[in-house]
Amino acid sequence: MYAYDELDRTLLNERVAEFRDQVKRRLSGELTEDEFKMLRLQNGVYLQLHAYMFRVAIPYGTLSSKQLRRLAHIARKYDRGYGHFTTRQNIQYNWIKLAELPDALADLAEVGIHSMQTSGNNTRNVTSDQWAGVVPGEVEDPRIWSEILRQYTTLHPEFSFLPRKFKFAITASAHDRAAIKIHDIGLRLHRNAQGEVGFEVLVGGGLGRTPFIAKTINPFVHGRDLLSYVEAILRVYNRYGRRDNIYKARIKILVHELGSEKFAAEVDKEWRAMGETALTLDDGVIEEIRSRFTYPAYEKLPHMPEELKKAAADPLFERWRRNSVFTHKVQGYAIVTVSLKPVGAPPGDATAEQMDALADLADKYSFGEIRVGHEQNLALPHVPKRDLPALWKALDEIGLATPNVNLVSDIIACPGLDYCSLANARSIPIAQELTRRFANPDTAELIGRLHINISGCINACGHHHVGHIGILGVEKNGEEFYQITIGGRADENAELGMLIGPAVPFGEVADVIEDVVEAYLALRERPDELFVDTVKRLGVQPFKERVYATR
């Protein structure tokens, strides 16, 4: 966990007071909606179909049990008893009242949580690997650098009025769980030949109506130069990025139009002109941030405790362990992913009761810490293996032990037309139907790793372009239709999916997806050839032939 200081607390309290005054003036009519809109967006407040939506940041996906309980409290006191975890390590509340928002913000500020820069044309919540600091083989905990970036970009005047929103993601592992290649700036922490820590810097990734995979513009930027290099990128973006057309304003368009080599040259020129600046991080500053991250006092525990051996006789436990438990860097401990994708439920939603109960379990089994992943699942990062059987039973009692992590029913979905004012079609009912179709865990295991992503419009909040199977809702003559893509992926080998054929109506989507999956099972070379690998080997055509042959 990261310990905030007095400066952070003062900033949050001042922000709450400022927003309270702005809301008061809006409700009295002193501020018009035109004047107020940007102010509310800067505090994560959108207006959706039925109500205001309140988006709260969970920087680099790390929460304490106390903070999770407070998120539950917000759901219970100010909303309708649940929250929705998003694809960018945020939580959204869908039914909040404007008049009550300042109180909700004040309650969050008490535990160091805020909603600053969760919307608007500024640098957004810095995201990272939800297994940061606990996964084996990591170069270093990427949250140290995420926090440095968070502090540097928060309320930075030059980054508060960018041409468009701007998103960072950081990973420090060979396997990218932070989807850095679909971010405006993706940072991969690694060591150079001299053993120094630095970053591969990727720029210009993003989804939406014009999707791009980020390009590497510098294979190694030393850690001490991170902020100056990022500042150089943002200066180039601020100078050349288009402000005349919202659809061409993201940095990905600039990188594409200039070409990544020319863009890199512009950044390099700017960066060299800056020279040694106050932004150059000295070791003391990095160490200061590093020291504020505290880690559990791990015990020396056996690799295979008796409790785990005994529980292995229970096939239901074994299925969950096989699916949801992952290797920890410390012997005797495990990382547990908590699926928020029960059969028939909206992906990523959790009730206040589930959040409270999970906070209790985190206290009991995970040193009071919870993580949030961009896949819309949670994780307990430090679970002693001996406690896995007890934890599994406790999770099952609160509906959070569905053994479908990374399987076909572990669906990422945006809120879609049920909530969102931008959406053209519904996402959640499609996801719910698919989880019912693939509810049999044996079938899901047989299929293997398969990510389905659903977006209700071209803005792509459900990251459909990078789903192994992507589903995009569109509107045709007042009806909901869905385009299906296959072969996308969001990891270190990120790819954009390819369209397999004409859009299909709402009622046929689940049938089509079943056909795609059946085609894969027939086409794969061997049981461990993943869906995306089969698509890569064969292309779209064999899938298209099977799916559309009878349509």
Partner: protein
Amino acid sequence: MTSPLEQKIRITGPSIVTANRTADGAVIYRNRTNGWSTDLSHAAVVRNADDARALLAEAAADDVGAVGAYIAPVSVKDGETIKPGNLREHIRQRGVTIDLLPVSA
């Protein structure tokens, strides 16, 4: 962005003016007595562009009470029962098409 009042208004059938209530974001409809109602059946129905423009102008003038007023299609059955004219408005009127809470164990 162009104000809704400056945009060319084209309506192809009965229409109403809807918005969200400023204080809580609730869905509201411009009614026949120059106010707002959360009940679609109280909405003022217009059938041509001039009437729609006038109703929208009146609604947009209430910046304190309502946010984002716009014209939406409806159908009118038997001369009185007003129903939403598309899925988006149906969802706004009836609420989400899913259960609100995640399923329990």
